[in-house]
Symmetry: C2
Subunit: 439 residues, 2 copies
């Protein structure tokens, strides 16, 4: 199941794009993530691109210049469209062939350097759109730590429900309100009911929260009625991005029973522009382990490969930049740091569970992992956990404090993989800013 | 808010399409619902059509023949595409203009008879596709009777939750697995856990159910961040179809907490091909009333027009045809009959609540009303209610009985409006058949 390491992962590879060789870059030649972009403020067509250092390889320019031939040219052409769905639908073989060709063409000494140099656009000049037309968005709940932390607050007597360790819990989210990093959104209004009030009132949420998640883009889908076995799940996955599942806790607490969160979540969901392929993440695969006392997954959710390398060690952090910090020229303050390796269910388990009843996935569908809180409080990935339900404010380095988000607050998610003997693989950033509620 | 009655509603109108004048037809000249169709088994392009008696006005043929001019021609051209989204996006003015032009052209004595006659395709020769590309599908829960009946079974101590009478409860459903009437689907597999079992097992659902609902197609959408006021809600609605929200109750009972139904619902949702416009339903608008002891809706969900005519008296029924009945040449047996007028929340309230937080609706989005059970048991719109949770089997006229659906069972939904002084407005039928689970 784990994509094998191949020449594209060689940490010794260097690119003729100098910025790709700098220590700490998110986008070395071993990464090669995909986005949809154009020059900022231009009327250019949106098209796919691949990050290399501080540059973008413009796939429309690559296709037009005829840099590649055969299957690779076909993949570049599919990636030249205004959404990546066509490239996603081509399948793992095509993604992998394009990655290998780009890796070779971007290496120091490549004979294709001149041709590809003409296809570069600086990231500093780019703006981004959603990478795919997202047909359906499903949000899972794969952190047992988050489920326990939040369960304590919504159901103090019954924090972790009996199904949690058996069922990869998920629910359908809203596709239309998914926005790309950088978008600002208005604080949502909704029904709010104080515990001692007789009736709810309509008002702006006072408990606006973040949820640090990863987003998993489906590449190839399945026909309605045809489940995807766990041994076949990962080749259906195109790649992973950062995802902020903004949440209005007061609206959520009042509306969520019995059918789940709705208006508390669907006003905005932010994702990073860059989608890192599963192949790029291969060096960071790690064992998927269950605590000794926990039940093992049912057979349809279990495989030797999933046990051996189902998890991925992606470092994650959340930064908060208040309006006062921004005006003072201060950067964001880190309020949480965790890793995806703590997840209780893997990417393959999400795909297989989602389709076990015959539900059809389609190219460009997005699966959220759910809030990726780690085992300790400083690894909690939502303010409702970090502040113990708003009872213990976070102290920020400039003297401000926060329980939930205030107007003008900007939140940034960052993700990266790093270890000795492998190239750093970064996800870039996912930003979003809270605007005041509409009058 | 209520579309005014106009010349298209005149019950005295007769069409030169003779079958449209027959008593009991679903599709008289006062209806004119939309679908996407082609000749069955052909390789023709899918295109929009309008039902008239036993015929379909082929909008692609209408557009090509240049039967209409100006705005009406533009609307027909939009309706000639393989999905109705473009027509939906044109807005109420365009839908209404096309309706008026078709009404006049289809009347006895119309000078356009010859031109339009050449654009007719018999329904008997047609097959249907989904009427729209459904970006997002939301399912509401607008029958207080259903919520109470089902609440008793899932939460005997707490059937109707405290939020029900304040919040139009809804959740996001799966768009990819919505299928058009006539589709068969495999019985879903999923995690099943008996109350006394220590662990769940993977198996085929043994409690496969129906839910009789209506589907509301959004026409024009709203920008992210811009709520739709209740006084402006109805012009955003294109029309209404029949919807069967197939549900696996055993999967649902085990998975649904805390985030709501997921795999118990997303294996298939069937809708009727014909979408009846709100304008066609104008004669059947009726007062939206709350029981005297119930709270009035919050101001954002209230308006004089919604109170005066927010409800719609659509008669609904469910038929079950077992395999044995089919093989014996028996038609389906009616197992439930109710009306949409019993709903606790109106179409306008669903639209306004959905967007009060700024969530954006888009042309072609689908809102389900939720299971439309009426106040008495024979008006219950799901087997779990009709059979008291499977404890009291339904007796069928051929001697068979059912608690939940068996393989080979076909279910049909029907809907129509009828009263003295107005033309009957029908929705056609919505069929679906249960195939055995995949091995």
């Amino acid at each position: 199941m784990t994509p094998l390491l191949n020449e594209t992962h060689d940490p010794a590879l260097r690119s003729w794009v100098a910025s790709a060789n700098r220590s700490g870059t998110d986008f070395p030649i071993q990464n090669l993530p995909f986005a949809v972009f154009r020059r900022r403020g231009s009327a250019e067509a949106w098209r796919g691109g691949v990050a290399i250092g501080e540059q973008i390889v413009d796939l429309a320019a690559v296709a037009q210049a005829g840099v590649f031939s055969g299957d690779v040219a076909q993949a570049a052409q599919a990636g030249a469209q205004d959404k990546l769905n066509a490239l996603m639908a081509l399948g793992q073989g095509a993604w992998s062939a394009l990655r290998l060709a780009l890796s070779r063409a971007l290496r120091e000494g490549s004979p294709q350097q001149a041709a590809l140099q003409a296809c570069l656009v600086p990231q500093a000049e780019a703006e981004y759109d959603l990478p795919a037309r997202i047909g359906d968005y499903t949000d899972f709940y794969t952190s047992v730590h988050h489920a326990t932390n939040i369960g304590k607050q919504f159901r103090p007597d019954n924090p972790l429900l009996p199904n949690y360790k058996w069922v990869p819990i998920g629910y359908h989210g809203r596709a239309s309100s998914i926005v790309v990093s950088g978008a600002a959104f208005h604080r949502p209004k909704g029904q709010l009911k104080k515990p001692d009030a007789e009736a709810p009132v309509l008002g702006a949420s006072q408990r606006l929260d973040i949820e640090l998640e990863l987003g998993v883009f489906i590449g190839t889908g399945n026909a309605l009625g045809d489940p995807i076995a766990i041994t076949e799940a990962e080749p259906h996955v195109f790649g992973i991005c950062l995802l902020n599942d903004w949440s209005a806790r007061d609206i959520q607490g009042w509306e969520y029973q019995p059918l789940g969160p709705f208006l508390s979540k669907n006003f905005a969901t932010s994702i990073s522009p860059w989608v890192v392929t599963l192949e790029a993440l291969a060096p960071y695969r790690t064992a998927f382990e269950r605590p000794a006392d926990d039940p093992q997954p049912l057979p349809y959710l279990d495989s030797p490969a999933n046990r051996a390398a189902g998890a991925i060690d992606i470092q994650l952090e959340v930064g908060l930049q208040t309006q006062a910090m921004r005006e003072a020229g201060l950067r964001d303050a880190r309020i949480s740091a965790t890793s995806y390796r703590h997840a209780y269910w893997t990417v393959a388990q999400m795909v297989t569970h989602h389709t076990v009843n015959g539900c059809n996935l389609q190219p460009g569908d997005l699966l959220g992992t759910g809030t990726l809180s780690g085992p300790t409080l400083d690894q909690a990935a939502a303010l409702i956990e970090l502040t113990l339900g708003g009872k213990q404010p976070l102290q920020l380095p400039n003297g401000e404090s926060r329980t939930f988000l205030l107007d003008g607050d900007a939140v940034v998610l960052r993700g990266w993989c790093e270890k000795a003997g492998a190239a750093r693989i970064g996800f870039g950033e996912c930003w979003g800013t809270v605007l005041p509620a509409r009058p």
